[in-house]
C-alpha cells in the first residue's frame, strides 16, 4: 500500500509539474491558467476536507464504541467534544494535505517563489483546514440533531455519492480538453468566460489562492495581511461557535444516537423484484438470492454506488461520441474497427473495477452471520455458484451495453460487432468467476464496512489477475482480428496458414476463458471449506 501511495504521489507531482511547465510556455494566458488552476485545486481540496470531516466527525463524535467510556468519565462535555474534534481534524485532513503537497511542490518548482510562499502555504493551509473542520463538525452536529446518527450517515453517504456522480458527469460533459485549445472558441471573451471557476471573495480558498499567487507571481502583496487576517479570524470565530453549539446540542445528539430505533422495512416493490429474480432457482438458492438482494437494496451505502456506476457508463459512452476520428490521418474504417476491438479490453477493465467493488466482497458480505450458511444443509459449492449466478446477469448486461452502444457510435462492421460482443459475453463469465472465487480465497468476515473488503490484499490481487486476464484475451485475439479486418477491407480471401493461426488463437482464448471460470471457483471453494 505504501508503494502504491508513493507511486500515486509521484504521478501527481509529475503530472502537475508538466501541466504547469506547459502553461508557462503559453504566452498571455499561461499565467492566467495557472492562477485559475490553483484556485480550482484549493477549492476541490476544501470541499474534500469538509466532506471528509463530516464522515469522520460522525464516527468520532457519535458512533465510536469508546465514546461511552468518554462520556461516563468525569470530564466536562466541552473537553470531551474538543478532544474528539481535534482528533477528527487530524484524522480527516492528513490525507488531503499529503496529496496536496506534490501539487504545491510543483508550483514552487515551476514559479520559484520566495520564503513567503512557504510560510503562507503552511499557516494558511492550517487555517483553511481548521475552517473546513469547524464547518464539517458544525454541520454534523446539526444533522444528528435532526436525524439519528445512523440515518445521518446514510443520508450523507447518499448525498456524497450523488454529488460525486453529478460532479463527474458535469466535469466531463463540459469538455475541459477544449480549455487548452483556444482555437475552439469563437472569441477571447467566450474563452475567458469558460475559464471562470466557482470563485468568490467570501471563500477562504479565494483568500489563500490570492495570497499564494501574490508570492508565486512576485506581484505586490498588499492584500496578503488582509487575507491572512480574514482567514484566521474566520477560523477562530468558527471554532468558538463550534464549542458553543456543542455545549448546547452535542450531548443530546449523542444520547439520541444511542437509542435503538425500530426500523420497518420497505417491502412491496422489493418483494415483487426479488420474487421475479429468484423464480428460476431452487428454494435453497432462491433463499440466498432473496437475502442478498434485500440486504443490498436496504443498505444505502451499497445501492447508491449504482448511481456512480450509471454516471460512469454515461461518460464512457459519451467519450466515444466525441472522438475526433475525422481528424486522424489513418483510414477511418480501419480506425473505427481498431478502436472497437481495443474497446473490448477497455470495457473489460471497467468491468474488473466494478467487480472489485461489488463481486469480490460477495462472500465477505455474509459477515459474522456466515455460520448460518456453514451450519445449513446447503453445500458451500452450491453457495458459491449461487453468488456467481446472481452477479452474472447484471454484469452481462453492463458489459454488452458498453460494447454495443460504443460500437453503434463507432459504426463498426457487423463482423466486429459480433466478435466484440461475443468476446465480452464470454469474458464476463471469467471476470465474475474470478471475483467470486478470489473473494472466497481472501474472505473478510470481520469487516466493519463492506467497502473496506475491496481495498485489501485480495482485492488488489483480483484487480491484477482480472486485468491480466482481459489483456491476455485482447492480445490473443489481436492477430486474427487484424488478419480478418484487413482481408475484409481489402476485399481479399484469408490464406490457409492464416486460418490455422486464427483457429489456434481463438481456441487458446476459449481455453483461457474456461480456465478463468473453473480454476478460481475450485480454489475459492477449497479455501472457504478450510476457513476457520
Amino acid at each position: 500500500m505504501v508503494v502504491v501511495g508513493l507511486a500515486f504521489w509521484a504521478l501527481l507531482f509529475g503530472l502537475s509539474f508538466r501541466v504547469l511547465k506547459y502553461f508557462q510556455s503559453v504566452e498571455v494566458i499561461g499565467d492566467l491558467l495557472a492562477h485559475h488552476l490553483l484556485g480550482m485545486i484549493l477549492m476541490v481540496f476544501f470541499s474534500l476536507l469538509i466532506f471528509s470531516h463530516i464522515i469522520t466527525a460522525l464516527s468520532n463524535l457519535y458512533l465510536s464504541s469508546d465514546l461511552e467510556l468518554c462520556h461516563a468519565s468525569p470530564a466536562p462535555i466541552e473537553q470531551v467534544f474538543l478532544s474528539r474534534a481535534i482528533y477528527t481534524v487530524m484524522d480527516s485532513s492528513w490525507m488531503v494535505i499529503v496529496f496536496g503537497l506534490p501539487v504545491m511542490m510543483a508550483y514552487a518548482l515551476v514559479f520559484k517563489p520566495g520564503f513567503g510562499f512557504y510560510f503562507s502555504l503552511l499557516h494558511m493551509g492550517l487555517g483553511v483546514t481548521l475552517i473546513a473542520g469547524a464547518f464539517g463538525i458544525l454541520l454534523t452536529m446539526v444533522l444528528v440533531r435532526l436525524f439519528p446518527a445512523q440515518r445521518t450517515r446514510d443520508v450523507i453517504m447518499l448525498l456524497g455519492v450523488c454529488g460525486l456522480g453529478g460532479l463527474y458527469m458535469m466535469f466531463r460533459l463540459l469538455r475541459p480538453e477544449r480549455l487548452v485549445d483556444p482555437d475552439a472558441f469563437f472569441s477571447i471573451a467566450q474563452y475567458m468566460a469558460a475559464l471562470q471557476g466557482p470563485d468568490s471573495p467570501y471563500l477562504p480558498t479565494h483568500w489563500m489562492t490570492e495570497t499564494l499567487w501574490a508570492h508565486l507571481s512576485r506581484s505586490s502583496g498588499k492584500e496578503i495581511l488582509f487575507h491572512s487576517g480574514l482567514l484566521w479570524s474566520t477560523a477562530g470565530a468558527l471554532t468558538a461557535i463550534n464549542v458553543w453549539v456543542a455545549e448546547a446540542i452535542y450531548f443530546s445528539g449523542f444520547s439520541k444516537s444511542q437509542e435503538a430505533k425500530r426500523r420497518r422495512a420497505g417491502k412491496r416493490l422489493l418483494d415483487f423484484f426479488v420474487a421475479m429474480i429468484k423464480r428460476p432457482f431452487k428454494p435453497e438458492l432462491g433463499a440466498i438470492i432473496d437475502k442478498d438482494l434485500r440486504a443490498f437494496f436496504r443498505d444505502n451505502t451499497q445501492w447508491s454506488q449504482l448511481l456512480l456506476l450509471g454516471a460512469l457508463v454515461v461518460v464512457y459512452v459519451y467519450n466515444f461520441s466525441v472522438l475526433p476520428l475525422d481528424k486522424s490521418p489513418i483510414r477511418i474504417e480501419f480506425l473505427q474497427n481498431e478502436i472497437a476491438f481495443f474497446n473490448v479490453g477497455l470495457a473489460g477493465f471497467v468491468l474488473s473495477a466494478v467487480s472489485v467493488r461489488f463481486i469480490f466482497p460477495a462472500v465477505s458480505s455474509e459477515g459474522a452471520a456466515f455460520w448460518i450458511i456453514r451450519s445449513s444443509p446447503v453445500p458451500l459449492k452450491r453457495f458459491l455458484w449461487t453468488k456467481f449466478a446472481l452477479y452474472l446477469l447484471p454484469m452481462l448486461v453492463l458489459g454488452e451495453m458498453l460494447i454495443l452502444l460504443t460500437n453503434h457510435l463507432l459504426e463498426v462492421t457487423p463482423f466486429m460487432m459480433a466478435l466484440s460482443s461475443a468476446t465480452m459475453f464470454l469474458s464476463v463469465f471469467g471476470i465474475v468467476a474470478l471475483g467470486v472465487g478470489m473473494g472466497a480465497m481472501y474472505p473478510n468476515f470481520n469487516h466493519q464496512n463492506i467497502a473496506q473488503v475491496a481495498t485489501g490484499f485480495g482485492g488488489l490481487m483480483f484487480m491484477i489477475l482480472s486485468a491480466a486476464f482481459v489483456a491476455l484475451i485482447v492480445v490473443l485475439e489481436a492477430g486474427p482480428v487484424y488478419l480478418l479486418v484487413m482481408a475484409e477491407l481489402r476485399g481479399v480471401a484469408v490464406a490457409g496458414w492464416q486460418w490455422v493461426l486464427i483457429v489456434l488463437s481463438f481456441s487458446a482464448v476459449l481455453f483461457i476463458m474456461a480456465a478463468a471460470v473453473y480454476k478460481p471457483m475450485t480454489m475459492g471453494l477449497k479455501a472457504l471449506s478450510e476457513h476457520e
Partner: protein, 252 residues
Amino acid sequence: MIKLIHLTKTYKELRAVDDLNLEVKEGSLFGFLGPNGAGKTTTIKMMAGVLKPTSGRIIINGMDLAEEPEKVKQCIGFIPDRPYLYEKLTGMEFMKFIAGLYGMDHASSLQTRIRDLLEMFDLTHWRDELIESYSHGMKQRLVMCSALLPQPKVLIVDEPMVGLDPRGARLVKDLFMEQSRKKTTLFMSTHSLEVAAEVCQEIAIIQAGKIIARGTSEDLRKASGVDGSLESVFLKLTEGKRIAHATPLSAS
C-alpha cells in the same frame, strides 16, 4: 444419536479439543460444562459443521458428518453463543430464509409454523422490523426460533442463556425439557451450573480439551466426594486446574 470418536482439534500451537470420546442417547438433554477456554465452543462448532476437526469422527443420527454433511445438517438445529444475523432482513424474512435453506416449501403450514414460533418467543410484534433494531436478547430468541423451524432431531446449543431476561430463560428451559420429551436430543454447553442442574439429565465436564467427568448430577457428586451443590462439585473436579486451559502441543 450423537457419537464423538477420538475428536481432536488443534490450532497451530494449541490443542483445543484432545481425543474426545462421547456418546449421547436419543432424547436426552446433555449438559457440557467446563471453565473458560476448555474447548466447549470448539467441540460444538465442529458438531454443527462450522469447524473442521483435525482428526476423529462425528456421528449424528447414524451418519458421519464428514461423509454426509448435508444429510447430517438437515437434522441438526444449531444455536451459537453469539447471535450474529443478517441485520438487513426482518425477523419474518429471516425465518423464510432459513426455511429456504432447509428446502422447506412455502405452503400455508410453514407460515403457520413461523407465526407460532415467533409468538412463542414473543417476537410477533417485531416480525416486520429489521433485525438491526433488535436487542441482543431478541436476536438470541430469533436464532432459537430459526433453529426449531426445521424440527431438528438434534439441537446443539452453545450458552443459551446469555442475554436472555429471566422470563426468556424460563421459556428456554421449559422448551428444552419439552423438546427432550418429544425425543429431540439436546447437546448444550453452559457456564450456568444452576441451569445444568435444573434441566440436564446427564452432564460432562471438559477441561483442557478432555472430558474429566461425566454422568448424572448424583454420579458427579459421588466421583468428586462432595455432597453439596453442583457448583461445589464443579469446583472440586476442576480443582488445581483452574488456570489450565487447552493443552499447548509442545506440552503433550
